[in-house]
């Protein structure tokens, strides 16, 4: 299916996992290439962690097969695999010091004490925590523990590293720093990273490819940018980014331009996606119910009425100040809420505190029709 010449490192073939009545993962098909940084992302309970745990052998698929390197892995026990994992809880051994923690994997591979020690110190050095080698891991800070956990997983030089929400316990500024540490490491080592997260910013900042999961199924797979700009479903559009989702009826379709009649106005949307993605090939007939998406950061907001198509008249309800970016929440006369994201410095030109009418508009090409 994907990249026929270059054999993928991991192949999931119709993999399902049930816990009693609960279906955690449904007939999952996907593959991971060697050297790829792939992020599996979704809300809690979507099956992303179960997928990762199946890769590590901590759960057995109920149906289907998982192959790593063309080798059937279904009945291979966790310790017989080479799939080290960085845990959400880090799972450092509290009765061992930092160096002994890093040595653990080597000890299990029966390497001698001197080699173990040298390699462990080497990795602690590489991750910048060599000075804490003999310290009790309980006394280290979150960021330091994170690095020890990474060193522990990488010291055995695996071909693939699994990461289960490793940054979720860190402060925001440390997350950014660890993200660059992770991407740099992945590039230097050239190994596969499988990164599970619920955080869009982590996934998009680091991954070469993102898999979005929902209710045990893959909702979309693709490059971060494609997922961001061209969500394949309403779920993805709601989960990823900050999107305005507008539904309506098709009233006409010519040359790949679809006109939509919605409760808040008439709009035109391009039906051929720029990236040739999933939305492209559908044929829209008059009267069809369609939904399109316009990202909040692609919406222009102005006080004088703009000379453009796709204009909506709104009043301002509230604003959310995040830093350099501000999100405005606006409302049309029928109560539909719309979101706009603009630069903070643009805010002054709007004179937004005085109330009154705002005009939202967007370029036809920026709106994205969801596949029906």
């Amino acid at each position: 299916m994907s990249v026929p010449n270059n054999r993928p490192l991991v192949v999931f073939d119709k993999v399902s996992k049930r816990f009693g009545e609960f279906v955690a993962v449904k007939a999952l098909n996907f593959s991971i290439d060697a050297g790829e940084f792939i992020a599996i992302m979704g809300p809690s309970g979507c099956g992303k962690t179960t997928t990762l745990r199946m890769l590590a052998g901590l759960e057995q698929p109920t149906e289907g097969t998982i192959r790593i390197n063309d080798q059937l892995m279904n009945n291979v026990k966790p310790h017989e695999r080479d799939t080290p994992m960085v845990w959400q809880s880090l799972a450092l051994f509290p009765f061992l010091n930092a160096r002994e923690n890093v040595e653990f994997g080597l000890k299990m591979r029966n390497q001698d004490a001197a080699t173990r020690r040298a390699k462990a110190l080497d990795w602690l050095e590489r991750l910048g925590v060599a000075e804490f080698a003999e310290r009790n891991v309980e006394t280290l800070s979150g960021g330091q523990r994170q690095r020890v956990a990474l060193a522990r997983s990488l010291v055995t030089e695996p071909r693939m590293l699994l990461l289960d929400e490793p940054l979720s316990a860190l402060d925001a500024h440390l997350v950014i720093r660890m993200q660059s540490v992770l991407t740099r490491l992945q590039r230097e080592l050239g190994i596969t990273f499988v990164y599970v997260t619920h955080s869009q910013s982590e996934a998009f900042a680091m991954a070469d490819r993102v898999v979005i999961m929902s209710n045990g199924e893959i909702a979309q797979t693709g490059l971060p940018r494609d997922i961001y700009r061209e969500p394949a479903s309403r779920f993805v559009a709601e989960f990823v980014g900050l999107n305005n989702i507008i539904s309506g009826k098709v009233i006409g379709s010519t040359d790949g331009i679809v006109s939509v009649d919605s409760p808040i106005g008439r709009f035109t949307v391009g039906s051929v996606s720029a990236a040739g993605g999933q939305g492209g090939s559908s044929v829209y007939r008059t009267g069809d119910q369609v939904t399109f998406v316009i990202a909040a950061d692609l919406v222009e907001v102005s006080r004088p009425q703009p000379q453009a198509d796709n204009v909506v008249v709104c009043s301002l309800i509230s604003e959310e100040f995040i830093g350099s970016v501000v999100t405005l929440f606006l409302e049309t006369s029928d109560g539909t809420e719309l979101k706009v994201q603009i630069q903070e410095r643009e805010l002054e030109t709007l004179d937004h505190t005085s109330g009154g009418t705002f005009y939202l508009s967007w370029r036809q090409g920026n709106a994205h029709l969801l596949p029906s």
Binding site: D13, P61, E63, G64, L72, N74, N75
Partner: protein, 289 residues
């Protein structure tokens, strides 16, 4: 596309059984076995001072038709019930204080202290009480200095209760303290805010919320008192004997093990009945109004 059938068979592993089986074997051999054998033994016969395996109801007839058995039975029941009520009531204010009126570190220390006597020689403590409560003992000597007494405290129900409480009070205090500490303080605060007086709050909010723990504490108190032979023997004078003393007398004198087994089985039946009643009361859901 792979067409081979996925193999979902799990390899057999002895690992889980290694941890699961030892206690099963051990308990069946040395816990369930002895108890079942004891029940069987209550149907055995004793001929010429030797036990003969049989299935006869002679021992049951002999014991259950005798007045002295039923005297012992009701005495033991009454003493254990009395001990449960008295200990629970006496312990409650202290547990309340430990749960609500002191700092967590004081509470930890108090529990630490209360756990210690539970694991120290009960026998020696009872002997000590014997000396303290005696006619010329410490308490009467102290009372004499203010011109009171002497009071007879040994060989009375009072003496027995003191002994029972030596055994049960620390445990009941600990269990009650745990039960009360687990109450959500906000609920107590809410009761106060709604104009509930502190006294009312105790029996309308605190006791119902801690009900399960309080009943379990009382149940343990009952079981311990019901089965103890040291206090009624040394401090209570054992006239009439309680059921545990009856078991000892019957076993040690004349090798009448089967009859002792009858007494033991009767005790077990009583305890199981009471435990079930107590636990169903403890875990009963409140009737919805």
């Amino acid at each position: 596309m792979s067409t081979d059938q996925p193999v979902h068979r799990r390899r057999f592993s002895g690992y889980p059984l290694t941890w699961r089986l030892p206690i099963i074997f051990w308990q069946i051999l040395f816990f369930v076995g002895p108890l079942l054998f004891m029940v069987a033994m209550s149907f055995f016969l004793v001929k010429n001072y030797r036990m003969v395996e049989a299935f006869e109801f002679k021992n049951w007839e002999k014991m259950l038709t005798r007045g002295y058995f039923w005297d012992s039975y009701f005495l033991t029941l009454i003493l254990a019930t009395l001990s449960t009520i008295v200990t629970s009531l006496l312990a409650f204010p202290a547990a309340f204080a430990l749960a609500f009126k002191v700092s967590p570190s004081v509470r930890r220390w108090a529990i630490f202290l209360l756990v210690i006597p539970f694991f120290t020689s009960y026998l020696v403590r009872i002997f000590s009480w014997y000396v303290i409560l005696a006619e010329s003992g410490v308490i009467n000597a102290m009372l004499a200095t203010i011109g009171l007494g002497p009071y007879t405290m040994l060989n009375t129900k009072f003496g027995t209760l003191v002994g029972y409480m030596t055994l049960t009070l620390p445990l009941v205090m600990v269990l009650q303290t745990f039960a009360l500490s687990n109450i959500d303080r906000n609920l107590v605060q809410a009761a106060h805010n709604l104009g509930c007086s502190p006294w009312r709050a105790v029996y309308t909010v605190i006791v119902p919320l801690a009900k399960t723990g309080l009943i379990v504490a009382a149940l343990f108190c009952f079981i311990l008192s019901f089965g103890d032979f040291v206090s009624p023997y040394y401090l209570g004078g054992s006239k009439p004997p309680t059921l545990p003393i009856l078991i000892i007398d019957t076993t040690k004198s004349g090798q009448q093990w089967p009859r002792a087994a009858v007494v033991a089985v009767m005790m077990m039946v009583t305890l199981i009945t009471i435990a079930f009643a107590a636990l169903s009361l403890a875990y009963r859901k409140r009737a919805s109004r």
